[in-house]
Structures are given as structure tokens and as C-alpha cells.
């Protein structure tokens, strides 16, 4: 689940990218995780747009 400013609809596909800092995991370089998923729920959380998505696929990208 995440917050986002843009409008999204249930069922739409998304792509995401997470950068894990090297020093947090003891790696020589940041680790990237790229993936795709689908929006399963949209709503308001404390006045902010919140979106719940399932992750269909992801890949760790090593530097």
C-alpha cells in the first residue's frame, strides 16, 4: 500500500522501483528492485490518496 498524488483506478497496471541503500544492507552499492503489479484498491487515508497493489513480478538489479 502506498500514497500517491495521481489518480489511479482499480485494475490498472503499475511499475515500481525501490532503491535499497547500500549501507543499510552492508552491500558495496545500492540495490535496485524493479517490478510490476496491479492496483487492487484505492481510497483516502488521512486525506491522502492511498493505493493498494499486488506485486506480480520483481527483479533485483545489482550494480
Amino acid at each position: 500500500m502506498f500514497h500517491i498524488d495521481a489518480d489511479m483506478t482499480v485494475g490498472s497496471n503499475i511499475e515500481f522501483s525501490i532503491s535499497i541503500p547500500a549501507d543499510v544492507i552492508g552491500a558495496p552499492a545500492d540495490v535496485m528492485v524493479n517490478g510490476e503489479g496491479r492496483v487492487v484498491r484505492c481510497g483516502l487515508d488521512d486525506g491522502r490518496k492511498s493505493v493498494a497493489a499486488v506485486i506480480d513480478e520483481y527483479r533485483f538489479e545489482r550494480a
Binding site: I14, I18, I25, G26, V31, R62
Partner: protein, 258 residues
């Protein structure tokens, strides 16, 4: 054999008095102990032993049949007295249970209390202390000796430490930590196996155990768990600043068909 009926009530009791009567069930394997308890309590005008039991079956039947405020329950009535207490309390959740025991350890004491026992006493308790115990427990207080209190406080402290510990890494072995570190760095099982000198299947086995221990279900969850719980902090010579989070690029809608 059915539970033995009363008991030491004598004479007529008005309805108002009836309400203030403390009703007690004595469940103990030894008749001599039950008789002794009855004799001690016979001196108390407002305490009435409403039933006696000499085994677990009779105890449960008595609890179901006779409304009681307090149950004196000897631990030797069954091989699993803690479980029996839970069973008894299902029959009468409002009843206060005092366990009579010869010897009790820390784990058993805490288990009894978690199951709803309100007091634990030794068989060698003096008559006046027994009466005080029953009255205190009926009044909503707990009855434990000093050792029991210490054990409960220790158990509470341990539980609080476990709940507030940000990193349960002590639950993972060194080998498991090494494998977690490799996963968080994006290494594949084959590469990890090569790195630590084992087979891919062994790495998979380790990972399954790690997932179970940490409650995660895949590598991404494991990596994020490491970040949020700072699991690999010692593996990182230059640890991140507190609160540092992974940089997440906001999801973008794609045109991929459903």
C-alpha cells in the same frame, strides 16, 4: 462418581445473607486435605463449601452444577493442571481459581496466571493464611508468594523486551544472517551457494527457515524487512542514519493490458 455435595452450611440463611456468602468448591485428591479445609472454613460464617471433588471429572461436573465464587484446585488432580484450569474456567469464567500445589516453577506459575488462575498456594499453607487468600482472591486480588511475584515480573519484562526489540536478529543463526545479507544484496540462490560453499538446495532450505522465523514470504519482503528492522546493521560498517528508508520511486501506471 458425582461431585460430593455440601458441606458446612448449617441452618437457614436469608436471601440477603445468601448473596454475601462466599461459595467455594474444594477439589483435592486427598480426603484428609478436603476435610481439613472444610473444618478451617467452618469457622467462617460467610464461607460455604458448596461442593467437593477428588478428581478432574468431578471438579468439572461440580463447577458446572454448583455456582461458586472460588475453586480450590489441587494441581495433582490431573497430569496437565494448567489445561484443566482453562477447561474449568470455560464452564464458569467468573469463578476465581486458586491452585494448590506442592512445588511450582517459573514457567508453570506464569502459565497458570496466563490461563486465569488468581492464586497459587502451597499445601503447607497455614489455616489463617488460607482464609486470607480465599478472601483476597474473591475480592479481586492475586495471591502469590514472593518468588511467584518475582517470576511474573521477570516474565513481564522478558515479554516487553521481546515486543519492543527492533531487531529480532538473535533468532537467526550466523549462517542464516549471511544468507539474508546475500539475498538483500540481490544475489541469486546459485550465487549464494557458491559464495558460502554449499548447494542451491541447502540455500533454499535455509531461506525457508528464515522466512518462517521472520514471517516474510519472499526475497523482496525479506529485503524490506532487513531495512525496516535494521537486521543487517552490523554487516554495514557505515550504518545508515536512524529512520533511513529505501528510496521508492512511485509506481507509474503502465499501458500493459490486464
Amino acid at each position: 462418581m458425582s461431585p460430593k455435595e455440601p458441606v458446612n452450611g448449617s441452618g437457614a440463611v436469608s436471601q440477603a445473607d445468601e448473596k454475601s456468602i462466599l461459595r467455594l468448591i474444594v477439589a483435592d485428591t486427598q480426603a484428609i486435605f478436603r476435610v481439613g479445609v472444610r473444618k478451617v472454613l467452618a469457622l467462617e460464617d460467610d464461607v460455604r463449601v458448596v461442593a467437593q471433588a477428588e478428581n478432574l471429572g468431578q471438579t468439572i461436573a461440580a463447577v458446572a452444577k454448583f455456582p461458586a465464587d472460588v475453586l480450590l484446585f489441587e494441581s495433582r488432580l490431573t497430569s496437565n493442571p494448567a489445561e484443566a484450569v482453562s477447561e474449568v474456567l470455560k464452564k464458569n469464567p467468573d469463578m476465581k481459581v486458586i491452585v494448590i500445589t506442592g512445588d511450582v516453577d517459573e514457567m508453570t506459575t506464569v502459565d497458570y496466571l496466563r490461563r486465569g488462575v488468581k492464586g497459587i498456594i502451597n499445601r503447607a499453607i497455614s489455616p489463617d493464611l488460607l482464609v486470607r487468600c480465599i478472601r483476597k482472591v474473591q475480592g479481586g486480588e492475586m495471591w502469590l508468594d514472593n518468588q511467584g511475584v518475582s517470576w511474573v515480573i521477570e516474565a513481564y519484562k522478558s515479554q516487553a523486551t521481546m515486543l519492543t526489540s527492533p531487531r529480532p536478529k538473535n533468532r537467526l543463526t550466523d549462517k542464516e544472517m549471511l544468507i539474508v545479507s546475500c539475498v538483500a544484496q540481490g544475489m541469486k540462490n546459485k550465487d549464494i551457494a557458491s559464495e558460502i560453499g554449499t548447494t542451491e538446495q541447502v540455500v533454499k532450505n535455509y531461506l525457508r527457515r528464515v522466512y518462517d522465523k521472520l514471517g516474510v514470504s519472499d526475497r523482496l519482503e525479506l529485503a524490506l524487512y532487513c531495512v525496516h528492522h535494521r537486521l543487517l546493521e552490523n554487516a554495514a560498517p557505515q550504518a545508515a542514519k536512524p529512520g533511513e528508508q529505501p528510496d521508492v520511486q512511485m509506481p507509474t501506471p503502465t499501458t500493459r493490458p490486464n
